[in-house]
Symmetry: C2
Subunit: 372 residues, 2 copies
């Protein structure tokens, strides 16, 4: 794991799980890997109240709040919230390939004691899910009450539902898809290339040297555009400039540019560039049907009851994708609810619109997702 | 002008106009500047059949076809088409700041005989229009029958309508806006930074040295994403990969990635990176109301009859922006028609959907845009 990550409060509360040797989707092996995870609430004696939360691209295991340190999904996890920690045992693990404790390209390769860098094997969404499966089993949980997540987290939810259909009562993918789109792959292509083009990246061998901050900053700027909406940016920034005597110089800056640069710099402080490359690639390769037959056919495997939440202003994962999949499932007689958020916030609404998500997710979990 | 540009057929037919000394919107002066332009059709004796075509970001003066070499708006310009060269005298000039003949950052600074590079003054959309105004006057045309253009070309159309309201009968902005959006500025920010981050860029001093092709290629890839639509990419590329034995390597490539890289390389062959920076900046600064009062107030200046064409799948210039402006104008009693293309092609539909554009533009020009 990268030395650049500062010690944070969650280092105190997070747990480590040493994975068994994994055979990855690629056929390659990964040994000596670790998942870092956190739990919120208490596992009941029947062990049937566990909910697995899957995080998005730059998330980590700190989904709920601990010791006053807010989690990234604090609005949904906690007493009285949809993922009620008085009732449920919430688990969240940093993904394989990540940089917040779990094994990833910034980790030390046990074979030579040096960071993997680009020698780290490609991990797919399916591999992340396989790792989470072992973690869940290690906690002696045979069946999850729910698997939930947004964006890349929702990709994991889809893989869970297809790969381990007997392992869950319900699944809740939000602002995501079962197979990544050509446009999503395009944005990821530009983001990855932005990192490759940074001379400091050095083919991934920058550990202990200069971090490719320009590259990761630029990749993040692009991400931040795709996570929001035209209307939000218009309302929030419009055409206003950072005050300057003469705007007619190349260096003059609009407020939205300052914001994007700030967001880019913020990510550089906490995220590893190689992890970013690997996780984007895992998204690109995401297709629940890869190696399994047609997309529609593969959905037959799903046994759990689903709640799919689309976002009307999401242009990275258009709501129509989730709706199409929900309709395919319904045509097969599967139990699935599709709901669509009306919001100005775009893709990131799954990290913002907690009122409506608490209502929908809470209601759905209340009766175990039963619609019949 | 950059030596990298090959001699093309249009070099034979294009004309040069030496501009008078210009005072730019910034207050800076630009001397010894040239506009390169082409004309299609014949100016009548009354000199009232001239139509000015304004090109988009990477366009040039070769809008119509000449000697069998198709122009970029060939589908709209020619005998029997909306811009009927049997009736109209069509003019198209390469913009100030461009790299296809007109003076731009790749041109020689007469003060020291070296390329301007980043010493070139910022030119705005308003400056481009001022230069075109002088060109039109030099052709002894006092009043244009129409000014038409899409995207950055449409920005020029708006500036024309506001700045020289007595100089035209009609104006036709397509897939554009009167003031650039925060989201548009955001995409341009990432594209510019992609060029800045290329070590070969050398603060713009790369003429006669290594061209910053990685940077411009990346900027163009991003552009190509924003010019198309989610649905088009899905239909055309979907999740299909370039054939490879093992897709689980970082180098594996999706078809859409190959396409974007190809488009990036293609632009590198014909466009100057510094021009790209300057033209993006001109778009960012585009606001017909800059220095003139409120946006709504400034629209009072418009005298000509307008046809505005929005594109329903355009996420760079959402149709709603044009519609809002059309409604503001209508509320002021101005004559304006708003039409919206239903198309899968996204922003670039103005370069593709010729059937519907010929119908709408042809019909509008037929009666001089009169709606009353």
């Amino acid at each position: 794991m990268s030395e650049r990550m500062a010690v944070r409060i969650e280092d105190v509360v997070r747990k480590e799980y040493k994975l068994p040797d994994l055979v990855l989707q690629s056929g390659r092996e990964l040994t000596d890997a670790t998942l870092v995870y956190e739990t919120f609430g208490t596992l009941n004696s029947a062990k049937d109240n566990a909910i697995l939360v899957c995080h998005a691209l730059t998330g980590d295991s700190h989904a709920g709040s601990t010791a006053g340190y807010p989690g990234w999904w604090d609005g949904l996890i906690g007493p009285g919230k949809a993922l009620d920690t008085n009732r449920y045992f919430v688990i969240c693990a940093n993904v394989l390939g990540g940089c917040s404790g779990s094994t990833g390209p910034g980790s030390i390769n046990p074979l030579d004691g040096r960071p993997y860098g680009m020698r780290f094997p490609i991990v797919t969404i399916r591999d992340m899910v396989q790792a989470q499966y072992h973690l869940v089993k290690s906690l002696e949980i045979d069946r999850l009450y729910a698997v939930i997540g947004g964006s890349m987290g929702g990709m994991q939810v889809f893989e869970w539902a297809v790969t381990y259909p007997e392992m869950m009562e319900t699944y809740i993918p939000i602002a995501t898809c079962g197979r990544f789109s050509a446009m999503g792959i395009s944005f990821n292509n530009v983001a990855r290339q932005a990192i490759y083009n940074d001379p400091a990246w050095c083919n991934g061998n920058y550990y202990g040297r200069t971090f490719p901050q320009k590259g990761l900053n630029l990749a993040r700027r692009l991400g931040m555009i795709t996570y929001r909406s035209f209307e939000l940016y218009e309302e929030r920034f419009g055409h206003s400039m950072v005050p300057i005597d003469d705007p007619f110089v190349m260096e003059s800056e609009f407020q939205v540019e300052k914001y994007l640069n700030y967001q880019g710099d913020k990510l550089v402080q906490r995220f590893d560039a190689n992890s970013y490359l690997y996780l984007l690639k895992s998204m690109d390769l995401h297709d629940v049907s890869r190696g399994r037959g047609s997309y529609s056919h593969v959905l037959d495997r799903i046994n759990a009851r689903g709640l799919m939440i689309g976002i009307d202003s999401d242009f990275l994962f258009p709501a129509g994708e989730l709706l199409d999949t929900a309709e395919l499932l319904r045509a097969k007689g599967k139990e699935v609810v599709y709901r669509e958020m009306k919001t100005i916030h775009g893709h990131d609404a799954f990290l913002i619109e907690f009122e409506i998500m608490n209502e929908w997710v809470g209601e759905f979990l209340e009766n175990g997702g039963k619609t019949k």
